[in-house]
């Protein structure tokens, strides 16, 4: 009896520091934010419970709802571009590297290099390259006979968001590549070899054997992309500023959240509305994660058993 009690104290001592720091600086602030999102300032008190009023304001008052829906729409575009470009191309590179071609570790390191840089640096580097004043993009495009493509891509309302999404793809493509590559390498060589002996081509082997086996990784990559994209901020802030110009064309939820709770230029800081924006972001991210856990993973398990 005494001994058992002794062991329990150990467990507490081992767990306490991690749980305390994690609870105090991550879980508590999250709940505090959620609590703030159902409060607001009143004439008499500095803080008063208002229920879902902040959320209603966000959805219905034009000064809030217009930028909110704009940011949400832009964020969806941002995500779709990552899913359509970053992940398939990352998979392609993983498949190419998975053939164990000579020099594959060098290629892998090089393609991963942009991923390790700060988003601020990446944003500014591309801003310089695309800046007509320096003219780098102009001369590069001219060498390939593509001068028609010479535009101030970041400066136009029509193209800023897509350009920023592609810059983000350029930076982050190393992550899906690494994850897909790790999954491909784990596939037993005999499986691929057997198919090859049976006369299956590379294309067929990939789609009929390798791709089905890495479906769990496809799900992980998708959910990581989703969570990463719906809380992105730095790239837009570094290249376009907190106002996510031109004319909010590249505003996403992260930049909208920042301006709302922190204030920017003429807009005063509003912790209550800011918390409400964070609440919506949390809801979006949780929805994505739950769809992944219960929709994708469950289904995969059913297939496996």
């Amino acid at each position: 009896m005494r001994k058992r009690r002794f062991v329990r104290v150990h467990i507490l001592v081992f767990l306490a520091p991690a749980l305390l720091i994690y609870t105090a600086f991550m879980i508590y602030p999250l709940f505090d934010s959620l609590w703030l999102s159902v409060n607001n300032k009143s004439a008499t008190a500095s803080q008063i419970f208002v229920g879902i009023q902040n959320y209603q304001t966000l959805f219905s008052q034009e000064q809030w709802s217009k930028p909110f829906w704009n940011a949400l729409r832009n964020n969806a575009v941002f995500f779709v571009i990552h899913m359509l470009v970053q992940n398939p191309v990352g998979l392609l590179f993983a498949a190419l590297l998975g053939t164990r071609i000579r020099g594959n570790s060098i290629y892998r390191s090089i393609i991963f290099t942009p991923t390790i840089l700060s988003v601020v640096i990446v944003g500014f580097v591309w801003k310089l390259i695309l800046n007509p004043a320096w003219g780098i993009s102009r001369s590069v495009l001219a060498t390939f006979g593509l001068s028609v493509l010479d535009h101030p891509w970041l400066g136009l309302e029509s193209s800023a968001l897509v350009t920023l999404s592609l810059i983000s793809v350029w930076q982050n493509i190393g992550i899906p590549m690494m994850l897909f590559l790790a999954a491909l390498i784990r596939i037993p060589e005999e499986l691929v070899e057997a198919a090859r002996v049976d006369g299956a081509g590379v294309w067929k082997i990939f789609w009929k054997i390798q791709f089905p086996l890495i479906l769990p990784t496809v799900g992980i990559v998708a959910v990581l992309t989703f969570v990463g994209n719906f809380n992105a901020f730095e790239l837009i802030y570094a290249t376009q500023g907190a106002l996510a110009g031109p004319n909010f064309a590249s505003d996403i939820l992260g930049t909208f959240f920042f301006r709302t709770f922190f204030g920017y230029q003429l807009q005063p800081a509003d912790p209550f509305m800011g918390s409400a924006v964070a609440g919506i972001m949390l809801l979006i991210i949780l929805t994505g994660v739950l769809i992944y856990l219960f929709g994708w993973q469950r289904r995969l398990q059913q297939i496996q058993f």
Partner: protein, 278 residues
Amino acid sequence: MAKSYSQIWRVIATHATLLAYSAFALFPVLLIILNSFKDRLTIFSSPFALPDAETFTLDGYQTLSSTAHFELFFLNSFLVTASSLALIVVVSSMAAFALAEYKFSLNFLTGLYLAIGIMVPIRLGTVGILRMMVSLHLVNTLWSLILIYTAQGIPLAVFVLTAFMRQLPRDLKDAARIDGASEYRIYWLTLPLVRPAIGSVLAISMLPIWNDLWFPLILAPGESTKTLVLGAQAFLGEFVNDYNAVLAALTLAILPPVLLYFVFSRQLIRGITAGAVK
């Protein structure tokens, strides 16, 4: 014969694709570094040329050292990153040891509770975090950053380390117990055995902390607590038109993560795959 012919073509096509993309991945970075050593005129007139005796200059770096406290920013980044990593490793390895070693009723729930932090970005609690740091008088201190980054790094670190510690053979620990070693001593003895996992945890936690802009911008924007990334961001905004200075600042900001990457790339790759696949 025809088959090997098509195989050769396939290899060539693979190399061509990977080479082309590698050039695309490196070109912007190299362009910045290269031009940071050239005089202003040459940056514009021949941006792709290597600097030679005539065009070589350190003007940008001089502007940098005279106007911004980059040594201080670098030191801040280093202190924040190193302290956070040390805290993450110590507290996470302890928690992971408990989760891997003992059967207790709340074991599964504790793991689940920590798992929330893997999926939910800590950023969403920023309003609460800022409020808390204001009341603790930690705004514009490096401690605010260290505590937040530690909290942010704990879930994944515990996750990776627990998976590793579960694979350690029981006999070893039981033998130590028979010899009368305390549980704390056993924890201490297992640490060297999970060194590869600790390496992975360090590698995956390091870059997000070093590269973060969000929390330095909100919690520690003061001149004396700026991190390198925030300092670079502020400097770039201010000196937008001084290409020498901007390119020099970018080069200096690019170097540390690239060096870290070359030192830790093996652990990083293992960490990314271990963290996400399990």
